[in-house]
């Protein structure tokens, strides 16, 4: 501390202070004019989502405060303490200050402990699972399609929704739920990891093969008639972005009618694919003649029938066809041996093909 720095003009402090004040005013203006709304999640549609939104608002307020404090200090220092031509002497060589270090250790500790406690409280509400939910749905996420099985109170399946996304033209498709009732969803995957994500629920949960995850939600009564978009949020392969779903919020009466319709539709059609169907086809002779594989499938789900050899190499990849239509695939002659035919859309649809 051998030298005293040149006295700084007071105008420096005024300029620096003004710039920091403008920074703060800008941030305030952004939020007062509503331009900051895009920094908030969309309006939550579920009780659990509203809880999460309340937590988000607290974290966000603290974040803005801390950002303005630290950024203000940086901007202030940058403007106020720039080196001037007259600055030959060294500034005061401050090596630190233990009181300051303790303050900026203890205060942030208190803030994060507070955040931890409130997020734990919120978590215990958001993650709560009831023993007897009003509605039970078993969601199956496979590459690259959702399906929703509606279960009764005993866990027995009563109907299956095979069209996961709401079609605005036909009004068909989607996972309907009654507003104001607790809905428990169990999640299973027959292939890779997926994630059930509905942005307006402010919620997602992974669908992990070999592990049944579950979560519960209650749609707010004011949301009756709304359709919420959702989609897979965990990379699951080439069809990831097309793994869409919708949740339709209905009044309890409308929901009962909707479910009744689904039950009738489910009973009217054969038990649908895709779930572990195995077809065994044997072709006689060296030449494999065109085989007709019947794949009963509802419209809206596409399939194909490709072939691979025993080593896993794909010999034939065919164009996909829409469920409910029929087509003929022609294959090149194959050597004798055991092959696998499979649908490249649904990895669990396979069968054995023996060429003798």
């Amino acid at each position: 501390m051998s030298s005293t720095p040149r006295k700084r003009p007071a105008s420096d402090a005024l300029v620096a202070g003004a710039v920091v004040a403008i920074l703060v005013a800008l941030v305030v203006a952004v939020f007062l004019t509503g331009a900051g709304n895009s920094l908030y999640p969309p309006a939550a549609a579920t009780t659990q989502g509203r809880d999460i939104r309340g937590l988000y608002d607290i974290v966000f307020a603290l974040a803005i405060g801390i950002f303005l404090l630290v950024e203000g200090l940086i901007v202030w220092s940058v403007i106020r303490y720039r080196r001037r031509p007259g600055d030959i002497e060294l500034p005061a060589q401050t090596h630190g200050n233990n009181v300051a270090e303790i303050v900026w250790t203890v205060v942030p500790t208190a803030i994060v402990l507070f955040l931890f406690v409130i997020s734990w409280q919120s978590l215990s509400r958001v993650d709560a699972i009831s023993a007897k939910p009003d509605i039970r749905i078993h969601a199956i996420a496979g590459q690259f399609q959702w399906q929703f099985e509606y279960l009764d109170a005993n866990g027995t399946k009563v109907a299956t929704q095979l069209a996961p996304a709401y079609d605005t033209n036909t009004g068909a498709g989607g996972m309907a739920v009654p507003v104001g009732r607790s809905v428990q969803v169990t999640l299973d995957s027959p292939d890779v990891i997926h994630a059930f994500y509905v942005p307006r629920f402010l919620f997602k949960r992974d669908v992990v093969p070999g592990q049944t995850n579950r979560f519960e939600f209650t749609v707010e009564p004011s949301e009756a008639g709304q359709v919420f978009r959702g989609q897979c949020a965990e990379l699951c392969g080439i069809g990831h972005r097309a793994m869409l779903l919708s949740v339709i919020a209905l009044t309890p009466a409308d929901y009962d009618a909707w479910l009744q319709g689904l039950i009738e539709k489910s009973n009217a059609t054969p038990e649908p694919l895709p779930s572990g169907t195995v077809l065994n086809v044997t072709a006689e002779g060296v030449k494999f003649d065109t085989a007709a594989l019947e794949v009963p499938a509802p419209p809206g789900i596409t399939h194909d029938v490709d072939i691979r050899d025993g080593g896993g190499a794909v010999l034939a990849a065919k164009d996909t066809i829409d469920g409910g239509t029929s087509t003929n695939y022609s294959y090149e002659p194959m050597q004798a041996g055991t092959y696998t035919f499979f649908c490249s859309i649904h990895s669990n649809m396979t069968g054995t093909l023996t060429v003798k």
């Binding site: 030298s3 920094l39 908030y40 999640p41 969309p42 937590l55 988000y56 974290v59 974040a63 630290v70 200090l73 220092s77 940058v78 303490y81 080196r83 600055d87 060294l90 500034p91 060589q93 401050t94 090596h95 630190g96 200050n97 300051a100 900026w104 250790t105 942030p108 500790t109 994060v112 955040l115 931890f116 997020s119 734990w120 919120s122 978590l123 958001v126 993650d127 942005p199 402010l202 919620f203 997602k204 949960r205 992974d206 992990v208 093969p209 070999g210 995850n213 978009r229 897979c232 949020a233 965990e234 990379l235 699951c236 392969g237 080439i238 990831h240 972005r241 896993g312 490249s344 990895s347």
Partner: protein
């Protein structure tokens, strides 16, 4: 410890030209090769990012053939940037700076040092070659099984295997490098260079090396298991044969979270060198800073599962608490940096400008990370573009800005020439504006529900404007590299001659010539503080 009086005959090289670079064991040349190699892969990874941003600019799949190619693009972008750019780039700056800063003639094991470098271009070429052998890895840089397993819909072909082999090579290179750094720092410090007189850069490399040494073997085990599952009929991660898909995530993140600190601590070290020099003040709270660095390193091993909050397979309160606690030592560092500036005399040379960019961007990257520590909020944000924003504010806004601060700071030492200040400032402005235009809107996209890693989105989802902004910003970042490359090119030829100490530096690398001779020093100044050159310039009493 022995004195470092060196035989002057040692300061001539027996070999010349290209052969000298190929065969060298000089830590300075190896460090420069690390930097150049990493910069080349940064450009490749950047081009892949532009491909991703071009595809996402508007709804529909217009630019790429199909989703598989898209998945390859972002997978390889992240893999190259993390494993072949940031980690080796910072290791390279450390390789150059650490022996100089502790007054040592070279690394402890010069030949092993050369070996760890030469594995990197090999691994990078292996990675890129997978584009020409039937398709690159496409399961994301995290490569979660079962998607990264075999199967026509998962990861068929050799791309994923090449990815595994490359990462094992890079991991081996990191482990060798870490041991080399640790032995160098513990055994080769000059007389008087006690641990608490080491430059912060050396401290951050020390902590980073401990992290690398403890964590990298763990991911290697995950990669080997994945390789066995794919090629040798194993079922470690196959849930349909008694394995566990989530097991991989636990092992992967046990490495990859500490790896985040491997990717950011040395950049913190760089700016902790730059801020004091250009403020003409010592680093505020040196010891607190050292303890905070060690604290981040230690806590870094107990927060891995915060990448797995939505799996339904981790104990959430434990990982939430420890994740929040990381904010405390990070906050200590932030305040120490700001109070280093406070009441200083700031010279706005390019290294300082990039360091200030680091402070501002890393501040945002730290704050938006706290949102995800609040577990229920993470349920909303996880795997959306919010996370993409967060990780780029930390790794680009933080690490990459720190890297450029370091390049502008040490380029005069490496080459003997100054980089042009005007071009440096043009680069900074383009990069800073482009960066924020690209990544700030991703917060809004994530909140509005756009998941990451999707090749396309509906036109009526409300995401169009922010996506266009992000794409424009991405091309601005690319444009910012042009003045940089031009700057390096012209400065190597005609740049201002730097002299030994162009910045009035504090640390020992500025006590030798630019570039330094082989084995670095003919003589060393007395080391009585963490700023030996400051003491030599102003006298101990000024300290």
């Amino acid at each position: 410890m022995a004195t470092h009086a060196l035989n002057p005959a040692a300061s001539t090289y027996a070999r010349g030209g290209l052969y000298e670079w190929l065969a060298t064991t000089d830590h300075k040349k190896i460090g420069i090769m690390y930097v150049v190699n990493s910069m080349l892969f940064f450009l490749v990874g950047g081009v892949l990012a532009l491909v991703v941003r071009t595809e996402l600019a508007t709804p529909g799949i217009q630019f790429l053939a199909d989703e598989r190619v898209y998945n390859e693009m972002f997978t390889m972008h992240a893999t190259l940037m993390i494993f072949v750019f940031i980690i080796p780039m910072l290791a390279g700056l450390g390789n150059y700076a650490v022996p100089l800063q502790i007054g040592a003639p070279d690394m402890a094991f010069p030949r092993i040092n050369a070996l760890s470098f030469w594995m990197l271009p090999l691994a990078g070429i292996l990675l890129i070659s997978s584009f020409f052998t039937g398709g690159a890895a496409a399961a994301g840089w995290t490569s979660y099984p079962p998607l990264s397993g075999e199967g026509p819909l998962n990861s068929p072909g050799s791309g994923q295997d090449l990815w595994i082999v490359s990462l094992i090579l890079i991991g081996t290179s990191s482990i060798l490098g870490a041991i080399n750094f640790l032995v160098t720092i513990f055994k080769m410090r000059a007389p008087g260079m006690t641990l608490f007189r080491m430059p912060i850069m050396v401290w951050t490399i020390l902590v980073t090396s401990v992290l690398v040494l403890m964590a990298t073997p763990v991911i290697t085990s995950a990669l080997v298991m994945l390789f066995i599952d794919r090629n040798l009929g194993g079922h470690f991660f196959d849930p349909f044969a008694g394995g566990s898909a989530v097991l991989y995530q636990n092992i992967f993140w046990f490495y990859s979270h500490p790896a985040v600190y491997v990717m950011v601590l040395p950049a913190m070290g760089v700016i902790s060198e730059v801020l004091p020099v250009f403020s003409r003040k010592p680093l505020f709270g040196y010891r607190a800073f050292v303890f905070a660095t060690a604290g981040i390193g230690a806590l870094g091993f107990s927060v891995w599962a915060h990448h797995m909050f939505t799996t339904g397979a981790v104990f959430l309160p434990f990982f939430a608490l420890l994740t929040f606690m990381i904010a405390i030592p990070t906050g200590v560092k932030m305040f120490n940096w700001v109070f280093t500036l406070f009441r200083g005399q700031l010279t706005f040379s390019t290294p300082l400008i990039f360091a200030l960019g680091f402070l501002t961007m890393f501040l945002i990257g730290g704050i938006n990370g706290a949102f995800s520590a609040a577990v229920p909020v993470d349920f909303a944000l996880h795997d959306t573009y919010w996370v993409v924003a967060h990780l780029h504010y930390v790794l680009f806004g933080g690490s990459v800005f720190g890297v450029f601060a370091g390049i502008y700071y040490w380029f005069p030492k490496m080459t003997g020439r100054m980089l042009d200040e005007g071009l440096g400032k043009i680069q900074f402005v383009l990069m800073f504006v482009g960066f924020n235009l690209t990544f700030f809107p991703m917060h809004m996209l994530g909140l509005a529900g756009m998941p990451r890693r999707i090749a396309d989105y509906a036109g009526d989802a409300g995401w169009n404007e922010w996506n266009i902004a992000a794409t424009v910003g991405g091309f601005m970042i690319a444009a910012s590299m042009l003045p940089f490359l031009w700057n390096v090119f012209i400065s190597l030829r005609n740049g201002k001659v730097a002299g030994d100490d162009p910045w009035e530096g504090n640390t020992l690398e500025w006590a030798t010539s630019s570039p330094p001779p082989p084995y670095n020093f003919d003589s060393l100044p007395e080391i009585r503080s963490e700023r030996p050159l400051f003491d030599a310039r102003h006298g101990q009493t000024a300290h």
